[in-house]
């Protein structure tokens, strides 16, 4: 583990029990996150992409312990910078302290703001919870934060319903910044927004990163957005990371067939850009009963016997490039050529 690692997740698992009846017996488990390893360095943006149900959102929530992880380690560099602390086993008091350094921005700009609180109260709430600063100081800080995200001071006395989706998302960002965190988990922060507003928010996130030296774990399903904002990208499928590399390496030189297919499926806003689509048959299997061997094998056009029987190791396949595919070395997969 190098000194510039801010967060290191090892073997993270989150199974949701499916309960039935009065006795609440567990009849099955949804393996939402099934063994995720991921490291995030100080100051970078790591994109986490995948389709719905792949476990990317649960991963983000488990890192913050908004949902209790079933197993795994979540090592985070705490206040004193010296050593890594395991978030997964931290005591309530320690956890409260850790949460000053890791915050979250949500997808839904409507449900994420309490309709009965003023914008100023919403932004100052984390400070109040942590018991930092007095009332007047908190209010002043809230105004600063609102200005930092492109809103004006007189917005602070209004209620959330008076704002549009994009403005609400800015309020959510201001709240996340209130505690001056090191890491912000962005959970699909732009996917509920209209295209022209998306760009505003993406630009804002980039500006804030530069200004405050933030680190982002950027969770999204939109490959174009992830490619635009991330330094490195991890691709998730059915609870596992199947590939991780620097953005350019991943997009130009994918090593996992799922990444290849996913990229070819993204519609490109250019009528002359004709990619040959790699058809991906069928649907994502259920995370209650994932396929044996490689989770992706039923939809993979390169699948062989070994893929059906053995779980591929998540391993380094090129310099700083990880993938979990038995055939990563032999397949010449097609990426996006730069233009």
């Amino acid at each position: 583990m190098s000194d510039d690692t801010l967060l290191e997740v090892r073997g993270l698992r989150k199974y949701f029990p499916i309960r039935k009846g009065v006795l609440q017996r567990t009849v099955a488990e949804v393996k939402a996150v099934d063994g995720v390893d991921l490291a995030v360095k100080i100051g970078e943006t790591v994109g986490l992409v995948g389709e719905s149900g792949c476990g990317k959102t649960t991963t983000g929530r488990a890192i913050l312990r908004l949902t209790e992880p079933t197993s795994g380690e979540i090592l985070f560099r705490g206040r004193d910078d010296a050593r890594m602390i395991d978030v997964a086993t931290a005591s309530p008091a320690r956890l409260k302290e850790l949460r000053r350094d890791m915050q979250i921005i949500f997808q839904d700009p409507y449900s994420s703001l309490n309709p009965r609180m003023t914008v100023g109260e919403i932004v100052a709430e984390p400070l109040q919870i942590q018991g930092l600063m007095g009332r007047a100081e908190r209010e002043a800080r809230a105004l600063d934060l609102l200005k930092a995200v492109g809103l004006s001071e007189d917005h602070s006395r209004r209620f959330p319903h008076e704002f549009s989706g994009g403005q609400r998302q800015r309020i959510g960002i201001a709240r996340a910044l209130a505690l001056n965190p090191k890491l912000i988990i962005c959970d699909e922060p732009v996917s509920a927004l209209d295209v022209s507003i998306q760009a505003q928010v993406i630009n804002l996130l980039q500006d804030l990163q530069e200004r405050f030296g933030l680190t982002y774990l950027f969770i999204a399903h939109d490959l174009s957005v992830v490619k635009h904002i991330s330094n490195r990208v991890a691709v998730m499928y059915l609870g596992r990371i199947v590939e991780l590399a620097s953005t350019r390496e991943l997009f130009e030189n994918p090593k996992h067939p799922y990444t290849e297919a996913l990229m070819s499926a993204v519609p490109v806003a250019d009528p002359d850009f004709k990619v040959e689509r790699i058809p991906l048959e069928g649907d994502v299997p259920s995370p209650v009963d994932p396929p044996k061997g490689c989770h992706f094998h039923p939809r993979c056009r390169y699948a062989q016997d070994i893929c059906r029987n053995e779980v591929p190791a998540y391993r380094q396949v090129a310099s700083a490039h990880f993938a979990s595919c038995h055939r990563a070395d032999e397949l010449g997969l097609r990426g996006l050529k730069s233009s």
Binding site: S164, S224, M263, P267, A269, D270, S339
Partner: protein, 332 residues
């Protein structure tokens, strides 16, 4: 391009009369679709694209009202104005399903949850064609196979909740295609789907369009989907068309500042150079309080004095390519 258009919409206005005032959802829209062409309608939420589609289907009901305009369709050898028909009358019902069919954004809620998939398709066939139930069943199974649903006979017997999202949208498409419509209206049909499933559905629609010789009105907010589907494009903003033209023209040579802004707002997969997106400032005004002059003027970086007082009309800027912006025309 000299073929007669299949459908022609002229100066359509649809307003919603609510307690909070009048929402001018569609405020003077005109376009036409030629047979076997795909028209992409693109715009952000609230621009009036879905309301336009429903108007073409004759599906506008209270509190919405078609205030003005014509929707001309050739039907049984004569021209019918859909805007004038009773939305629950027999004549529009004869057009729906046979001349124009429609698919929607949410395949889960658009299919009736209590009827079998197959029966819903059979119903669509029997409503318009005088054939026996058995023959209609055979047709429905064939259609399910044609839209790429594996084991169509088994799927026929299933209920919507037993299918995945992609399969449901395929079933909706099968139902829409059941009476060989000349125009298929697709209202954000892939928005609720994952990218890989979206790609499947787009490929399917492109294939069906060749096989059935159907024209498509494809509504979406996603410029990438438009680029992959449309022959022609109209860009809508605040109830109006701000730009229209062939797809390549629109993407290569956008003339309206809003279209340009949209293009700059989306990060491109194909491009590595861009570090910062050129966003459009501000927010879309409420349809209850449409600004005077050009609707885009408050957000437009090139807005001039005239833009705030007068509303520009669509004017041709190149053959087949029109934009509603004073930058491209000499005000008279």
């Amino acid at each position: 391009m000299s073929v007669d258009p299949l459908i022609e919409v002229k100066d359509l206005k649809v307003h919603f009369h609510t307690e909070d005032g009048v929402a001018r959802a569609v405020d003077g829209v005109g376009f036409s679709i030629a047979p076997e062409r795909t028209l992409g309608v693109v715009g952000e939420s609230g621009c009036g694209k879905s309301v336009t589609a429903r108007a073409v289907m004759g599906l506008i009901e209270a509190p919405g009202k078609i205030e003005q305009g014509e929707i001309l369709l050739r039907h049984n050898g004569r021209t019918v104005d859909i805007a004038k028909l009773d939305p629950r009358g027999a004549e529009i019902r004869g057009i729906r399903g046979t001349e124009i069919a429609m698919i929607f954004q949410e395949p889960m809620t658009s299919l009736n949850p209590v009827f079998r998939i197959g029966d819903q398709i059979v119903e669509a066939i029997l409503l318009h064609e005088k054939i026996g139930r058995a023959a209609a069943r055979e047709r429905a199974v064939e259609l399910l196979a044609a839209v790429g649903i594996p084991l169509p006979r088994q799927r026929f017997e299933q209920f919507p909740h037993q299918l995945s999202g992609g399969m449901r949208q395929r079933a909706m498409i099968a139902m829409a295609m059941s009476c060989n419509p000349k125009l298929l209206i697709a209202d954000e049909p892939t928005t609720a789907l994952d990218v890989t499933i979206q790609a499947q559905v787009m490929d399917l629609m492109n294939a069906l369009r060749r096989d059935f010789n159907t024209a498509i009105m494809f509504i979406t907010h996603d410029l990438g989907v438009i680029a992959g589907m449309a022959d022609d494009v109209v860009v809508m903003y605040l109830g109006r068309i701000v730009e229209s033209g062939p797809v390549r023209e629109i993407f290569r040579n956008p003339k309206h500042p809003y279209t340009q802004g949209l293009m700059g707002s989306i990060p491109s997969l194909a491009d590595w150079g861009v570090r910062r997106l050129t966003a459009i400032d501000g927010v879309v005004p409420s349809p209850f309080a449409v600004p005077q002059g050009c609707g885009f003027a408050p957000r437009c970086p090139h807005a001039m004095e005239i833009c705030r007082t007068r509303s520009p009309d669509l004017a041709e800027v190149a053959p087949g390519h029109a934009a509603a912006c004073f930058l491209n025309q000499v005000p008279t």
